[in-house]
């Protein structure tokens, strides 16, 4: 897992964290009780998404705010616990980044921000990034079905996975629109469809990447409804990945008990070969 490891905080980091805390408290003060509001109902939550302009500008403020509700609660004590969690998770890459846990501007976050910039800001950027990946996946399965390389149970599985990706495209498009954004265009794609074995291998690769891509963005999503939608898609991509891994004689949990996230740049680099012109 690529999470912050904080075995020992340098003094400078504590100072940064203290400054951040002040910033957080100031930010909370100016926004009153907004952060602590309890959603009265599911319907009200839906209204928030549906009418971001007319009724409730909370979404826009969330999108514009560098400080999410979620981050607000991260304080010094929990950073140590998170460190314990990461250690317990057996972090085996020697990434000893010592950025504060309440600090959203680590090097990773920065590079992810620039990779995502082409898709828009904040949640809209993440949604359009996810939409682009879903378009690629849906196009891939559609081509595989047309290729005639599969029949029987495998064809049914591929069809059903393709239908899932198409449903994700629809949901993400609708969500982007509801947030007042413009859905990313469907990219032109090309896939090497030589034989059944290599295609199913590619499907497994793409699904594992897709699951890692969603995992890489989960903690960056500001709006709870968008997060709920992303989570409900993320675990479906994971199911696809595990099934395809099993079919291709790979471990269904290739990264062990804790799945690894992938940042946007890594993901976009890997799907680049499938983008035509």
């Amino acid at each position: 897992m690529r999470v912050i490891s904080v075995h020992s905080f340098p003094k400078l980091d504590w100072i940064k964290r203290f400054l951040k805390l002040i910033q957080v408290v100031a930010s909370a003060a100016t926004r009153g009780t907004e952060q602590h509001r309890i959603r009265p109902s599911k319907e009200a939550a839906m209204r928030d998404v549906k009418t971001p302009v007319e009724g409730d500008d909370r979404l826009e403020r969330l999108a514009a705010s560098p400080m999410s509700r979620r981050r607000l609660f991260v304080t010094g004590g929990s950073a140590a616990a998170v460190s314990a969690f990461v250690i317990a998770c057996g972090d085996d890459d020697d990434d000893t980044t010592t950025s504060s846990s309440s600090n959203g501007s680590s090097a990773d976050a920065m590079s992810d921000d620039s990779a995502l910039a082409q898709f828009g800001k904040g949640d809209l950027g993440i949604l359009n990034y996810a939409l682009t990946l879903e378009y690629i996946e849906a196009a891939f399965y559609a081509e595989v079905v047309r290729s005639g390389l599969f029949k029987g149970a495998n064809l049914e599985l591929i069809r059903s996975f393709g239908a899932d990706e198409q449903a994700h495209v629809g949901a993400l498009t609708a969500t982007v629109r509801k947030l007042g954004g413009k859905p990313a265009p469907r990219p032109k794609t090309t896939f090497p469809l030589d034989d059944a074995d290599s295609v199913i291998d590619l499907a497994a690769t793409v699904e594992n990447l897709g699951a890692a891509a969603y995992l890489g963005q989960a903690a960056r999503i500001e709006n709870d409804e968008v997060l709920a939608a992303a989570l409900s898609i993320h675990s479906v991509e994971a199911r696809h990945a595990a099934a395809l891994n099993t079919l291709t004689n790979q471990s269904f949990v290739p990264e062990g008990a804790f799945a690894k996230p992938a940042d946007a740049k890594t993901v976009l680099d890997q799907v680049q070969p499938f983008l035509a012109g």
Binding site: V74, A81, F85, A242, A259, P261
Partner: protein
């Protein structure tokens, strides 16, 4: 809601339960108490919400309870049921994953100054491989929905990221078990989110104390 359904029929299929910390506590403790009576809320509920700490600790303890349950479930199957080599193999992998989740969640709760819940005493109604796999599918699918439901209520983004890395593994377990039963590995395009009350209700039959 109808308008929402028109705007996004696919999303409407997802059961959103945006749980705030307050709502989570209310749903878990007051909800169960109101529904079943305080005394009938059950040892699992009392145990899962024994802590009076912050929201994240409660969510972590809730997750820990589920992971303990899953770990014990696979232990029992591996120790006492005649399993095919294939099933024994992936059941062992899954059991080890659940154990790792137990350790990670316990350590995190301690690190946050909370007290990890004790492992619940459990009992599972299966004696053969088919019954074991059927129940495994239910437990794993429920686990996915439990994490997905709790996700938006998690305040710390680091904890959210870790919960995400766990739920992805639970979803992979669910798919593997489903394949072994010739069930669709991903039955819906969107996994459902379940609130704590629904999750506790689903697992309550297996908890003996």
């Amino acid at each position: 809601m109808p308008q929402h359904n028109q705007a996004a029929p696919e999303l409407a299929a997802v059961e959103f339960e945006p749980l705030s910390r307050g709502a989570l506590i209310a749903k878990g403790v007051l909800g169960a108490a109101a529904l079943y009576g305080a005394a009938a809320a059950g040892p699992l509920v009392r145990r899962a919400f024994a802590q009076s700490g912050s929201g994240d600790i409660e969510i972590l303890n809730f997750a820990l309870t589920l992971e303990y349950l899953e770990s014990a479930f696979y232990d029992r199957a591996i120790d006492q049921v005649d399993l095919s080599m294939e099933v024994r193999d992936f059941a062992t992998t899954i059991r080890d994953d659940e154990d790792a989740h137990v350790t990670a969640l316990s350590e995190t709760i301690k690190g946050l100054g909370g007290k990890p819940v004790a492992a619940p005493k459990v009992e599972f109604p299966f004696s053969d491989e088919a019954a074991f796999l059927e129940l495994a599918q239910t437990l794993e699918d429920t686990g996915v929905s439990a994490y997905n439901g709790a996700g938006p209520a998690i305040e710390s983004k680091e904890l959210l990221a870790t919960a995400g890395s766990i739920v992805q593994v639970e979803a992979r377990h669910a798919a593997r078990v489903r394949l072994a039963r010739n069930q669709p590995p991903a039955p819906d395009a969107f996994d459902r989110a379940l609130g704590t009350k629904a999750v506790l209700k689903a697992v309550q039959p297996f908890v003996k104390s």
